[in-house]
Structure formats: C-alpha cells, structure tokens
Symmetry: C2
Subunit: 300 residues, 2 copies
C-alpha cells in the first residue's frame, strides 16, 4: 500500500546542547517521507526553491519516494527554519522563519496520487489541508497534523477539516488547547466528538496516547541515553505510525496500538542525531530490532 505525504520541505538551521548545523535538510514532509519509506512506497507533494540542493533531491529519489509531486519553483527560495533547543530540550525556540515558496503553497496533486490509500496531511494551514483532502478519492486513512498556531488562529477552518479526516496527531498541549480542557483524557474525548475516530497524542519523552473508537492505549517513549536534536521527532513518529498501518493494512484498535509502538521506535532514531542524520543511516532491520526492545521495555 502506498502512502502520500503533503507538507513542507525545508532547509533548517538548528542549535542544541550537542552542537549546531546550518541549512540541513528538514521540513515535516522530509522527515515523514524518509521515515515512512522504511515501511511502504511514499509519494511526496511539496515545494522547493531554486536554492534547494540537488543532493537532497537525490536522497529522496534513492529511497522509495515518488517525486512526481515535488515542485521546484524557479526564482523562488526554499522554506527556511532556524531554531534552538536548550536544557532538557522539551520545546523548540524558533529564531527565524522564512516561508519563501511555502507561503503560496496550494498543491494540486498529480492525478495518479489522488487515489493513494494512506495520506498524511503534515502541519500547515487547515484551509490548504482541506484543499488537499478534497482532491483525494476514497482514501482508507487520512491522518492530519496541526499546531497551536492554527488551533488558536484558524480554529473554525481546522475543525472543518478535522471532520473530513480519520485521525489527528498532536502533542499534549495542543490537545488541551484544541479541546479547551486541561485534563488530557477529557480533552481527547472532546476532540473525538469533532467526528474523529483516531487521536494520537504525543508527549515527547513521556511517550504517546492513542484513542480509537473510545478505547485508550498508552506507550512510554523508548528509553534513550542520548537525545541530540528533537527536530522532526513528531513527523517521524507519524511516519512510523502511518507507515506500519499502510504496511499491515490493519486499522483495528490492535493494529493501531502496534502502529503506535512503531511510531515510538522510529522517532527514537530521529532524535539521536541532528536533522535526518540518524534516520538516514537506520535500516529496517535496525528498526525491527529496536521495536522488539521497546516491546520488552513495556510488556508486563
């Protein structure tokens, strides 16, 4: 089963207590597609500028990633994000954002992409997410990511698109804001009432929660001794989750629980290196071995 991702490809500059990197490959769709390509063929829809290094395009192409939807805008500059993490690195501080070509991103899917069964609508303006959703033909499972900027600034549009997707992935603070409810369990129940059957709540080093048709499942994070850069953890978490769902085709509660553990495993690789460094060198075999280690860490 193939998997479509629509989102940002970026050039990131990142500082953490472990070092810094300038203009490295980043963006939600980059993390997602590289991570998900360990599970199923990926179709990428994104926009880049003239300045985007050809070597990054090659990295995607060398994997199982279809680039028919990667638009290079002549005369444009690639989306850039600059941020830093301090102390325990539990939140990114954005130092600069240059939207550039992403500012006018209003993707039209290649015709052959419209019937992709599994779809990830990465974090962006919910109006754009809805525009993409409406081009899809009977998808099996559409997962949407969002952030506080849209929850507070484009609430009505966000709730509109949430009614047309199968699942949402957000962090615990975002879940509380979206539901306007401080207790996380009640917050998740309120979000379900928007019409969503699957809600995935990421809690960083504290793991994740899955809510599926009224049933709850919780998984702790994989225990890591070294976290170098949290950038992309959420997108690769979503990739492990949706990648495992697409690979196995089991959308039951049991299937989604297992998929959540794959999300946890994949994200644990991402944060061990800067940007995509660690995720690039990971093999499927290594993912499966760590997945087994995670299961033994959480099984009573």
């Amino acid at each position: 089963m193939s998997l479509l991702v629509v989102g940002s490809v970026a050039l990131d500059s990142v500082v953490t207590p472990y070092g810094h990197r300038e203009s490295i490959l980043g963006g939600a769709a980059s993390f997602f597609s590289i991570a998900a390509s360990h599970f199923v063929p990926v179709r990428l829809v994104a926009v880049i500028g003239e300045d985007f290094p050809e070597e990054h395009v090659k990295l995607f192409a060398e994997r199982n990633i279809n680039l028919a939807g990667l638009e290079r805008k002549s005369g444009g500059k690639t989306f850039r994000w600059k941020g830093r993490y301090i102390g325990r690195m539990d939140a990114a501080e954005t130092l600069a954002t240059e939207l550039n070509v992403l500012g006018s991103f209003k993707p039209t899917l290649p015709a052959e992409f419209c019937s992709t069964p599994y779809v990830f609508l990465a974090n962006t303006d919910p109006v754009t997410q809805l525009h993409v959703r409406r081009q899809l033909k009977s998808p099996k499972f559409v997962l949407l990511d969002t952030m506080n900027f849209w929850i507070s600034g484009a609430r009505a549009a966000l709730i509109e698109v949430l009614k047309e997707v199968d699942g949402v992935v957000l962090n615990d603070d975002e879940a509380r804001s979206l539901a306007e409810e401080s207790n996380l369990i009640r917050a998740v129940q309120k979000i379900a009432a928007f019409g969503l059957r699957t809600i995935v709540v990421k809690k960083g080093e504290h793991g994740a929660l899955l809510f599926r048709d009224g049933q709850l499942y919780a998984v702790p994070a994989y225990p890591l001794e070294t976290v170098r850069d949290p950038t992309g953890a959420g997108d690769s978490f979503a990739a492990g989750f949706l990648g495992a769902l697409a690979e196995r085709g089991d959308l039951s509660f049991a299937g989604q629980k297992l998929a959540l553990t794959y999300g946890t495993t994949v994200a644990s690789f991402t944060v061990e290196g800067f940007g995509l460094e660690r995720l690039m060198t990971t093999t499927r075999d290594e993912i499966d071995r760590r997945q087994e280690a995670l299961l033994s860490f959480i099984r009573v």
Copy 2:
C-alpha cells in the same frame, strides 16, 4: 508477609482547584499504611501530638495496621503541612510546615518490628532513615523515599543510607538531581551505581519507570478524567508497589514490574479525592478491577 512503614503522620490543609480541606489526616506514613493494608498487614512507626484526633487512630486500628509503634507525645503538637496545587496541579506549593513532634523524631522500633521482612523508609532526614535501617534484622526488601531537600542538603548522609537499602523511589526531577545528570536513563544508571538494585522513578501523570538489575520497565499512569488532590500519590504509589511485593514475595524483575503496575493503580485512587477520602472507600476488589483496566490500557 508483613510490611513496616516508618514516617510522618500529619494534619494537612490543602487547596486545589477542586476545593479545600482543613486539618485532615495526612503524612507519608498515613497514606502508605492505609494503601498498603489492602495487600498485607502493616506495622506503623510514627509520632503524633496530643492534638491528634482519636478518630484517626481508630481509622488505622480498624484496618490491618499494628499501632504498637505509634507514639503519642504528651504536651506535643502533631506535624502540620499546608499546601496548594494550582492549574494542572503538577507540583505542590508548600504554604506552611510546622514540624512540631516530628522535629525530634528518632524512632526506636518495637522489638517485634525489627524482623519485618518488607520495610518502607518514608521521606525524612537520611540520618534518621539510617538509624532505623540499622535496627532491622535481615529484611527481605527495604525501600527508601527521599526528596530534593535532602538530596541537596544532606547528600553524603543520603548516599550512605542508599548503600544499605534495596531500592529507592523518587520522582524524575529528584532522580536527575541525585545523579547530577539531566538525561533520565543515564541518571537512573548513575543512581544504580550507588549500590541499589531497584530504582523506581515516579513521573506523576506520565507514569513511572522501574530499573532492576540493569533492566528497564515503563508504565504509563492510569488515565483519569478527574484528579482532585495529588497529595499522597507518591506514598500510595510506593504502598501499592511494596504491598504487592510483600503479598506475592516475588522480587524478580517480572515480580517488580507487576508490583509497579499495582503502585500505579493504587495511586490513581488516591488522587481522585482529597487526602485519604478516596483511598478509604476503596476496596481490594475495586483495586483489582482497576488493575485489570490498567493492564488492558498498556498491553500491546
């Protein structure tokens, strides 16, 4: 198997977003002994003042709690704590502490208590904890609780007593301070190097970690829709853990993993009511049913 607890019995005044209570029964040893009495007979060693209500003494006596070590100091006043929790209630703000009779608490165990197999040294001055530890005759398992006040103020004494116990229970910030290490997994490994075979790290609403002989296990917190008062959660967590160990007598990694889930279950009752209100009305049957619900919430 019986279980000994040495610690504070207090009169607490607490404010949370859900209301307030004045001079209710509190203190680490109260929470621990009431909670642990659902599992095994408990022996309580603590000190109270003349002002301590006889009805509270009756509450202990009506349960399976041996009060031969409960000293009432004539002319003295009971330890009092006043605190409040705001917002998401993740930390208590202490408004007032009156040590009173607790200030000179230097317990001599009743002779028949010295050979109790399972022992909880509740949070207090590590010098006092060591004084108690040295009165014990070949215990099977001694668990120690501590807090940041002793970690920073009595570090050498704390490390001395840690070498003579089997396990320590602390929250994640305390673990980081004790180990002087910001990564929690590395922190736990450093604490183990003090000579401890069992380390239990409580993370509040994010669950708990167990480290036993180099092996790690993580459990999420039981998903609660209403948390009214977090006071005593840590002590009842320790009671569920040690109570289950004492009841089953299985100190293996598997036995301690299961015990950790009982700690999680028992603490979930405590925080649903003010002080001991909810824990008082809980039955063993109700604990076992919630334990099953917790296991289905965490099993993949």
